[in-house]
């Protein structure tokens, strides 16, 4: 059983997805989805434990040897990613059932399909992360993307349809670019296994085909991870999706895309080719810096709080890419630990907003006046998430900011370190706008707002408290991230 964990990681949600569609609407379908996602979390935790104890795991699908069969390969980096995705998947799935279903634009008998799409999306994201086969990455990428279009489009706001459509177009372009990149690599090397690719690429790395493949993969993953200026699909998709979906996608989907980018550029192409020959960092650095500043500024002016958080996500992705473009252990540690920390941050913020919009009706700033007093627990979780987003010490957000600044200073990039600190102040401004309205503006006359139900508060607070816990105990979010960073810089897994 233990030996098959890498396969079960994907198979359990994959099999449960159609099962959900067959179950009657209401509690049974939800229970199945929740059980599957908690099982996935358990498996991810076991996998991480095994990898940390015994080193990387290689699992051959159906016993076919590499390079003919598909290999699932789990090292510190993807075990860590699996844990992030599965943990967020499980916590979001536990977000109160009746409340979630009430916010969907689906007839009741179609509700099980929502869980099917959710599990498929989880399957796809876990699959991308666990596999060691380049083409398999593309397959799972499409599974997760197609199901996430469906998840976004069931938002109550009808603009969700357009947002999902735009995401579909951009996501397909991105996936196609990735596929073209993988195809070109296959033409040159005759293999799809990542380890094999890494071994054979240096012989042909001078060719234009490999360079073109590199360019396609750069832009393809950049679209998927919403790197500025290719982020434009993201704000509306997150803003109009149902809150739990926004929480799930914001915390996992772009992170997995970043994982794909790290895997291709560090493991498959190798550090030397990617950053010394091709000088990828020269492209990532300016885009991430402009993205951080611009998206933070846009976030300040938003009145739709979900859209504000979406833009803040674009800025946070900028921080992660900034860490990558430092090409150092500290920089990569910052990026990888921010994958984890930002998942906690945005998960708790979007879920807190889900609680607010459940009671108030919309996540618009002007509707939130006085909410701080009528929904103290919800807004308490929001404030904790906000502090972590800003990077206040003792919160998880501080950990990644710290490594990022240390990494920038190691390189002697003063202005970058200053910029990171200054843009944290922009985050203070946009979080403060919400806090100010919620706590200092009087509630409108005659409007009675009650605290959110416990079924929503418990998962929200679980994430909020995790923000505090991982701000103190950094052995998981920074310690494993550091291992993963060293693994990436050290060569093939």
């Amino acid at each position: 059983m233990i030996a098959h964990l890498p396969a079960l990681q994907v198979v359990i949600p994959l099999v449960s997805a159609p099962l959900c569609a067959l179950l009657p609407a209401g509690r049974p379908a939800w229970l199945a989805a929740m059980t599957a996602s908690w099982l996935a979390f358990l498996i991810a935790a076991l996998l991480l434990y095994q990898v940390l104890a015994h080193g990387p795991i290689s699992y051959l699908m159906g016993g076919w040897p590499v390079p003919w069969g598909i290999e699932y390969r789990v090292d510190a980096l993807n075990a860590y990613m699996l844990l992030i995705v599965a943990a967020i998947g499980a916590i979001v799935a536990s977000f109160g059932r009746t409340v979630v279903e009430q916010r969907l634009s689906l007839p009741v008998n179609k509700h099980p399909w929502f869980y099917t799409a959710y599990l498929l999306c989880l399957t796809g994201l876990l699959g991308i992360t666990v596999t060691g086969d380049a083409f398999n990455v593309f397959v799972f990428l499409e599974i997760s993307a197609l199901s996430s279009y469906a998840l976004i489009s069931v938002g109550r706001d009808r603009r969700a349809l357009v947002a999902a459509y735009q995401y579909l177009v951009m996501g397909t372009v991105g996936a196609t670019f990735i596929l073209i990149g993988i195809g070109l690599l296959y033409v040159m090397t005759g293999t799809l296994n990542m380890g094999d690719l890494a071994a054979r690429l240096p012989a042909v790395s001078g060719t234009r085909t490999v360079r073109a493949a590199f360019a396609f993969l750069t832009v393809g993953t950049a679209i998927k991870l919403a790197l500025f200026p290719l982020h434009l699909w993201l704000p509306n998709a997150y803003a109009y999706a149902p809150s739990p979906v926004a929480a799930f996608l914001a915390a996992t989907a772009t992170k997995v895309a970043i994982y794909v980018m790290l895997r291709f550029f560090f493991t498959v192409f190798g550090v030397q080719f990617s950053f010394e020959t091709m000088q990828l960092d020269k492209i990532l650095l300016p885009l991430s810096l402009v993205g951080i500043v611009s998206a933070s500024l846009v976030a300040i002016f938003q009145t739709n709080v979900k859209r504000m958080l979406a833009y803040s996500s674009v800025a946070q992705i900028g921080y992660m890419m900034l860490g990558v473009s430092l090409v150092s252990v500290a920089g990569l540690t910052a990026s990888i630990s921010h994958l984890f920390n930002h998942a906690l941050i945005k998960g708790s913020l979007f879920m807190a907003l889900g609680c607010v919009s459940y009671r108030v009706g919309a996540a618009r700033l002007e509707r939130m006046a006085g909410v701080g007093r009528s929904m103290p627990w919800t807004m308490g979780a929001f404030v904790i998430g906000g502090l972590s987003l800003i990077g206040v010490p003792l919160t998880a957000g501080f950990v990644s900011k710290w490594y990022l600044i240390v990494g920038a200073l190691e390189k002697g990039w003063w202005p970058v370190a200053v910029l990171v600190l200054a843009t944290s102040l922009l985050a203070v401004v946009y979080i403060w706008r919400v806090v100010e309205v919620a706590y200092f503006k009087p509630a409108p006359e005659g409007l009675k707002v009650r605290e959110a139900p416990l079924a929503l508060l418990i998962p929200t607070w679980a994430l909020a408290l995790a923000n505090l816990y991982f701000g103190l105990d950094t052995s998981l979010n920074a310690g494993v991230a550091r291992l993963a960073a060293q693994g990436l810089l050290g060569g093939a897994p």
């Binding site: 360079r211 590199f214 200026p229 611009s294 846009v298 010490p393 200073l409 600190l421 950094t474």
Partner: protein, 564 residues
């Protein structure tokens, strides 16, 4: 006593737990127990380093107990205790939590053995203390709080930047002597300077403290600035520049305190003045001077708390602390008036009151080291402090022209708190040996020599004479009702020479800073809003074709870049 437990954690965790207790005497008793338990824990721990934590490849020493940190941590606990007693009747959970969380952070800061822990506590103190200002719940207090927070966070960011630089240069984050020789040290110095309210960096203090609540000001007055004095003593003892800075700090607020009408703001100015003495002591840096700085910080926390408590009681009962509107309150509030006079005598360094035993250590050290110019200035400042804090505060509040206000005596719990503080002030003055015993270095100094007592009495007598003369000449305008205003006006006429110059420029800069915040930034925001606002190009929803176009453009750019 629990081995290795940081007393700061008792206050910090306890302040949050207090919310679980029902409002009323149960919660109050619980809150009262916290500083007592903390002080017992502190008392029981032998000197040494505890609670080492490995994080970020660094060794954090969250608890370092030695003579210097012990004295500060002890007096912080006493101040927190006094504040809890003073606020016994308060039913506002925001102030209750902040009133213990903030002292907890300050205790954590003085006990921190490394710069990272110091930074964490530094920021926690900044963030928790602002709620004591906001708790007044007026728009004015809200804005003052925002400005306060901005300055405090700026200090924190400077500290963080300095710590990182220091770490890179020195390879260690231990909080020991830093000095001004490196860029990191200089940044940390400025960060400390902001919190210690160095001249030109001090406006936040006068701006924010008088806007806080009745209890809030009492709590605020004790911690932030003394924490900075501790940090300076630890990191920059013997730095020559501090002597000049401290002398200036002791001098300039005198003039401002004299012309100020809001009596709590007068006290805020006199804080600068007292801090100046401590900063000079740190700057001289000999064991005697450092002892003086620590002892004076200890005494200052107590008498300043006493004075702020008495003014808080006046604010509570009479509804105002403007000198021009008060007067004659001794008839209604005799006990408060008595305690206020004890506080005034203490700050003025009357023999048998606390500052007499502590300030003289600093003056003695200055004289021994031959810093004669600072010595003379400090002597002048001592006279000035008697003038504005020692006489002006009790005179205008409780005596002077009878304002006709008839109110109740302060509530009993406030009187108890003031009584405790007054007893401590007198206790230190009468038995200075007890305080000297806990100072970081052994003290061989007796304040009660005939020369010292007589000199001090002469100084005070001349100062009182000056006050009397000025009041006499000012009291005779035709209408008695305008006495206080006239008095202000008289002083404004006497001052211009001293007040002009640099000072005006600094005030102007502060106002300009405020204007910039409210007005000039508006234009910048408008410009940003054009592109990043909701309708701006950066925030609008783009047509799908244009998104794809960007993707294609970037692909082309990448191809060209990679091929070249």
């Amino acid at each position: 006593m629990i081995d290795g437990l940081n007393p700061a954690l008792i206050l910090i965790c306890g302040s949050l737990l207090a919310l679980l207790a029902p409002q009323g005497s149960i919660r109050n008793t619980f809150m009262l127990a916290l500083p007592i338990l903390g002080a017992l824990q502190l008392w029981g721990l032998p000197y040494g380093q505890y609670a080492r934590i490995e994080a970020f490849d660094l060794t954090l020493t969250t608890l370092r107990l030695d003579g210097l940190s012990f004295a500060f941590a002890l007096v912080f606990h006493i101040a927190a205790l006094l504040a809890v007693v003073y606020a016994w009747g308060l039913r506002d959970p925001v102030q209750q939590v902040a009133g213990l969380l903030y002292p907890g952070a300050a205790v954590g800061a003085v006990l921190a053995g490394d710069l990272v822990s110091l930074f964490v506590c530094w920021e926690l103190a900044a963030v928790s203390s602002v709620f004591l200002i906001w708790a007044r719940r007026t728009p004015r207090a809200y804005r003052a709080g925002l400005r306060y927070l901005l300055v405090q966070i700026a200090s924190g960011l400077l500290l963080l930047a300095g710590v990182i630089l220091h770490l890179r240069a020195a390879g260690s984050i231990a909080f020991e002597h830093l000095g001004l020789n490196s860029a990191g040290g200089t940044l940390i110095f400025v960060a400390f300077g902001i919190k210690a309210a160095f001249p030109l960096l001090h406006n936040w203090l006068q701006d924010a403290y008088p806007e806080a609540t009745v209890t809030g000001t009492v709590v605020l007055s004790a911690f932030t600035t003394k924490m900075a004095v501790y940090a300076l003593a630890r990191g920059f003892a013997g730095t020559e520049a501090l002597i000049a800075i401290g002398t200036l700090m002791a001098m300039f607020p005198i003039f401002y305190a004299v012309i100020e009408n809001d009596l709590r703001r007068v006290l805020a100015y006199s804080m600068n003045n007292q801090l100046g003495f401590m900063v000079v002591g740190v700057g001289i840096g000999t064991p005697l001077a450092l002892d003086g700085a620590v002892a004076h910080a200890f005494a200052d926390i107590l008498f300043k708390a006493l004075l702020f408590m008495s003014m808080g009681a006046v604010l509570l009962r009479a509804g105002t602390v403007n000198g021009s509107e008060l007067g004659g309150l001794y008839k209604s509030m005799p006990l408060t008036a008595g305690f206020c006079i004890v506080g005034a005598a203490s700050i003025s360094a009357f023999p048998l009151f606390s500052a007499f035993a502590t300030k003289s250590l600093i003056l003695e050290a200055a004289a021994r080291e031959g810093h004669w110019i600072p010595f003379l200035f400090l002597l002048f400042a001592s006279a000035g402090v008697f003038h504005h804090a020692g006489i002006k505060i009790p005179y205008f509040a409780f005596f002077a022209h009878d304002s006709g206000i008839r109110c109740q005596e302060a509530p009993r719990h406030m009187l108890v708190a003031m009584g405790l503080a007054a007893a401590l002030c007198v206790g230190i003055g009468v038995f200075p040996g007890a305080l000297y015993a806990i100072l970081p270095y052994p003290v061989a100094f007796d304040p009660y020599t005939a020369t010292h007592v007589i000199t001090q009495l002469q100084l005070l007598a001349w100062s009182a004479l000056a006050f009397a003369l000025l009041v006499r000449t000012g009291v005779y305008p035709p209408e008695l009702r305008s006495v206080n205003l006239d008095f202000d006006w008289l002083y404004r006429k006497l001052l211009p020479a001293a007040a002009a110059g640099v000072w005006g420029a600094a005030l102007g800069a502060w106002e300009g800073f405020n204007r910039l915040l409210e007005g000039g930034v508006g234009r910048l925001i408008a410009a940003l809003a054009l592109h990043h606002g909701q309708q701006g190009i950066m925030a609008a929803t783009w047509p799908t074709t244009r998104m794809v176009l960007w993707a294609v453009f970037l692909l082309g750019a990448c191809l060209v870049f990679y091929y070249l």
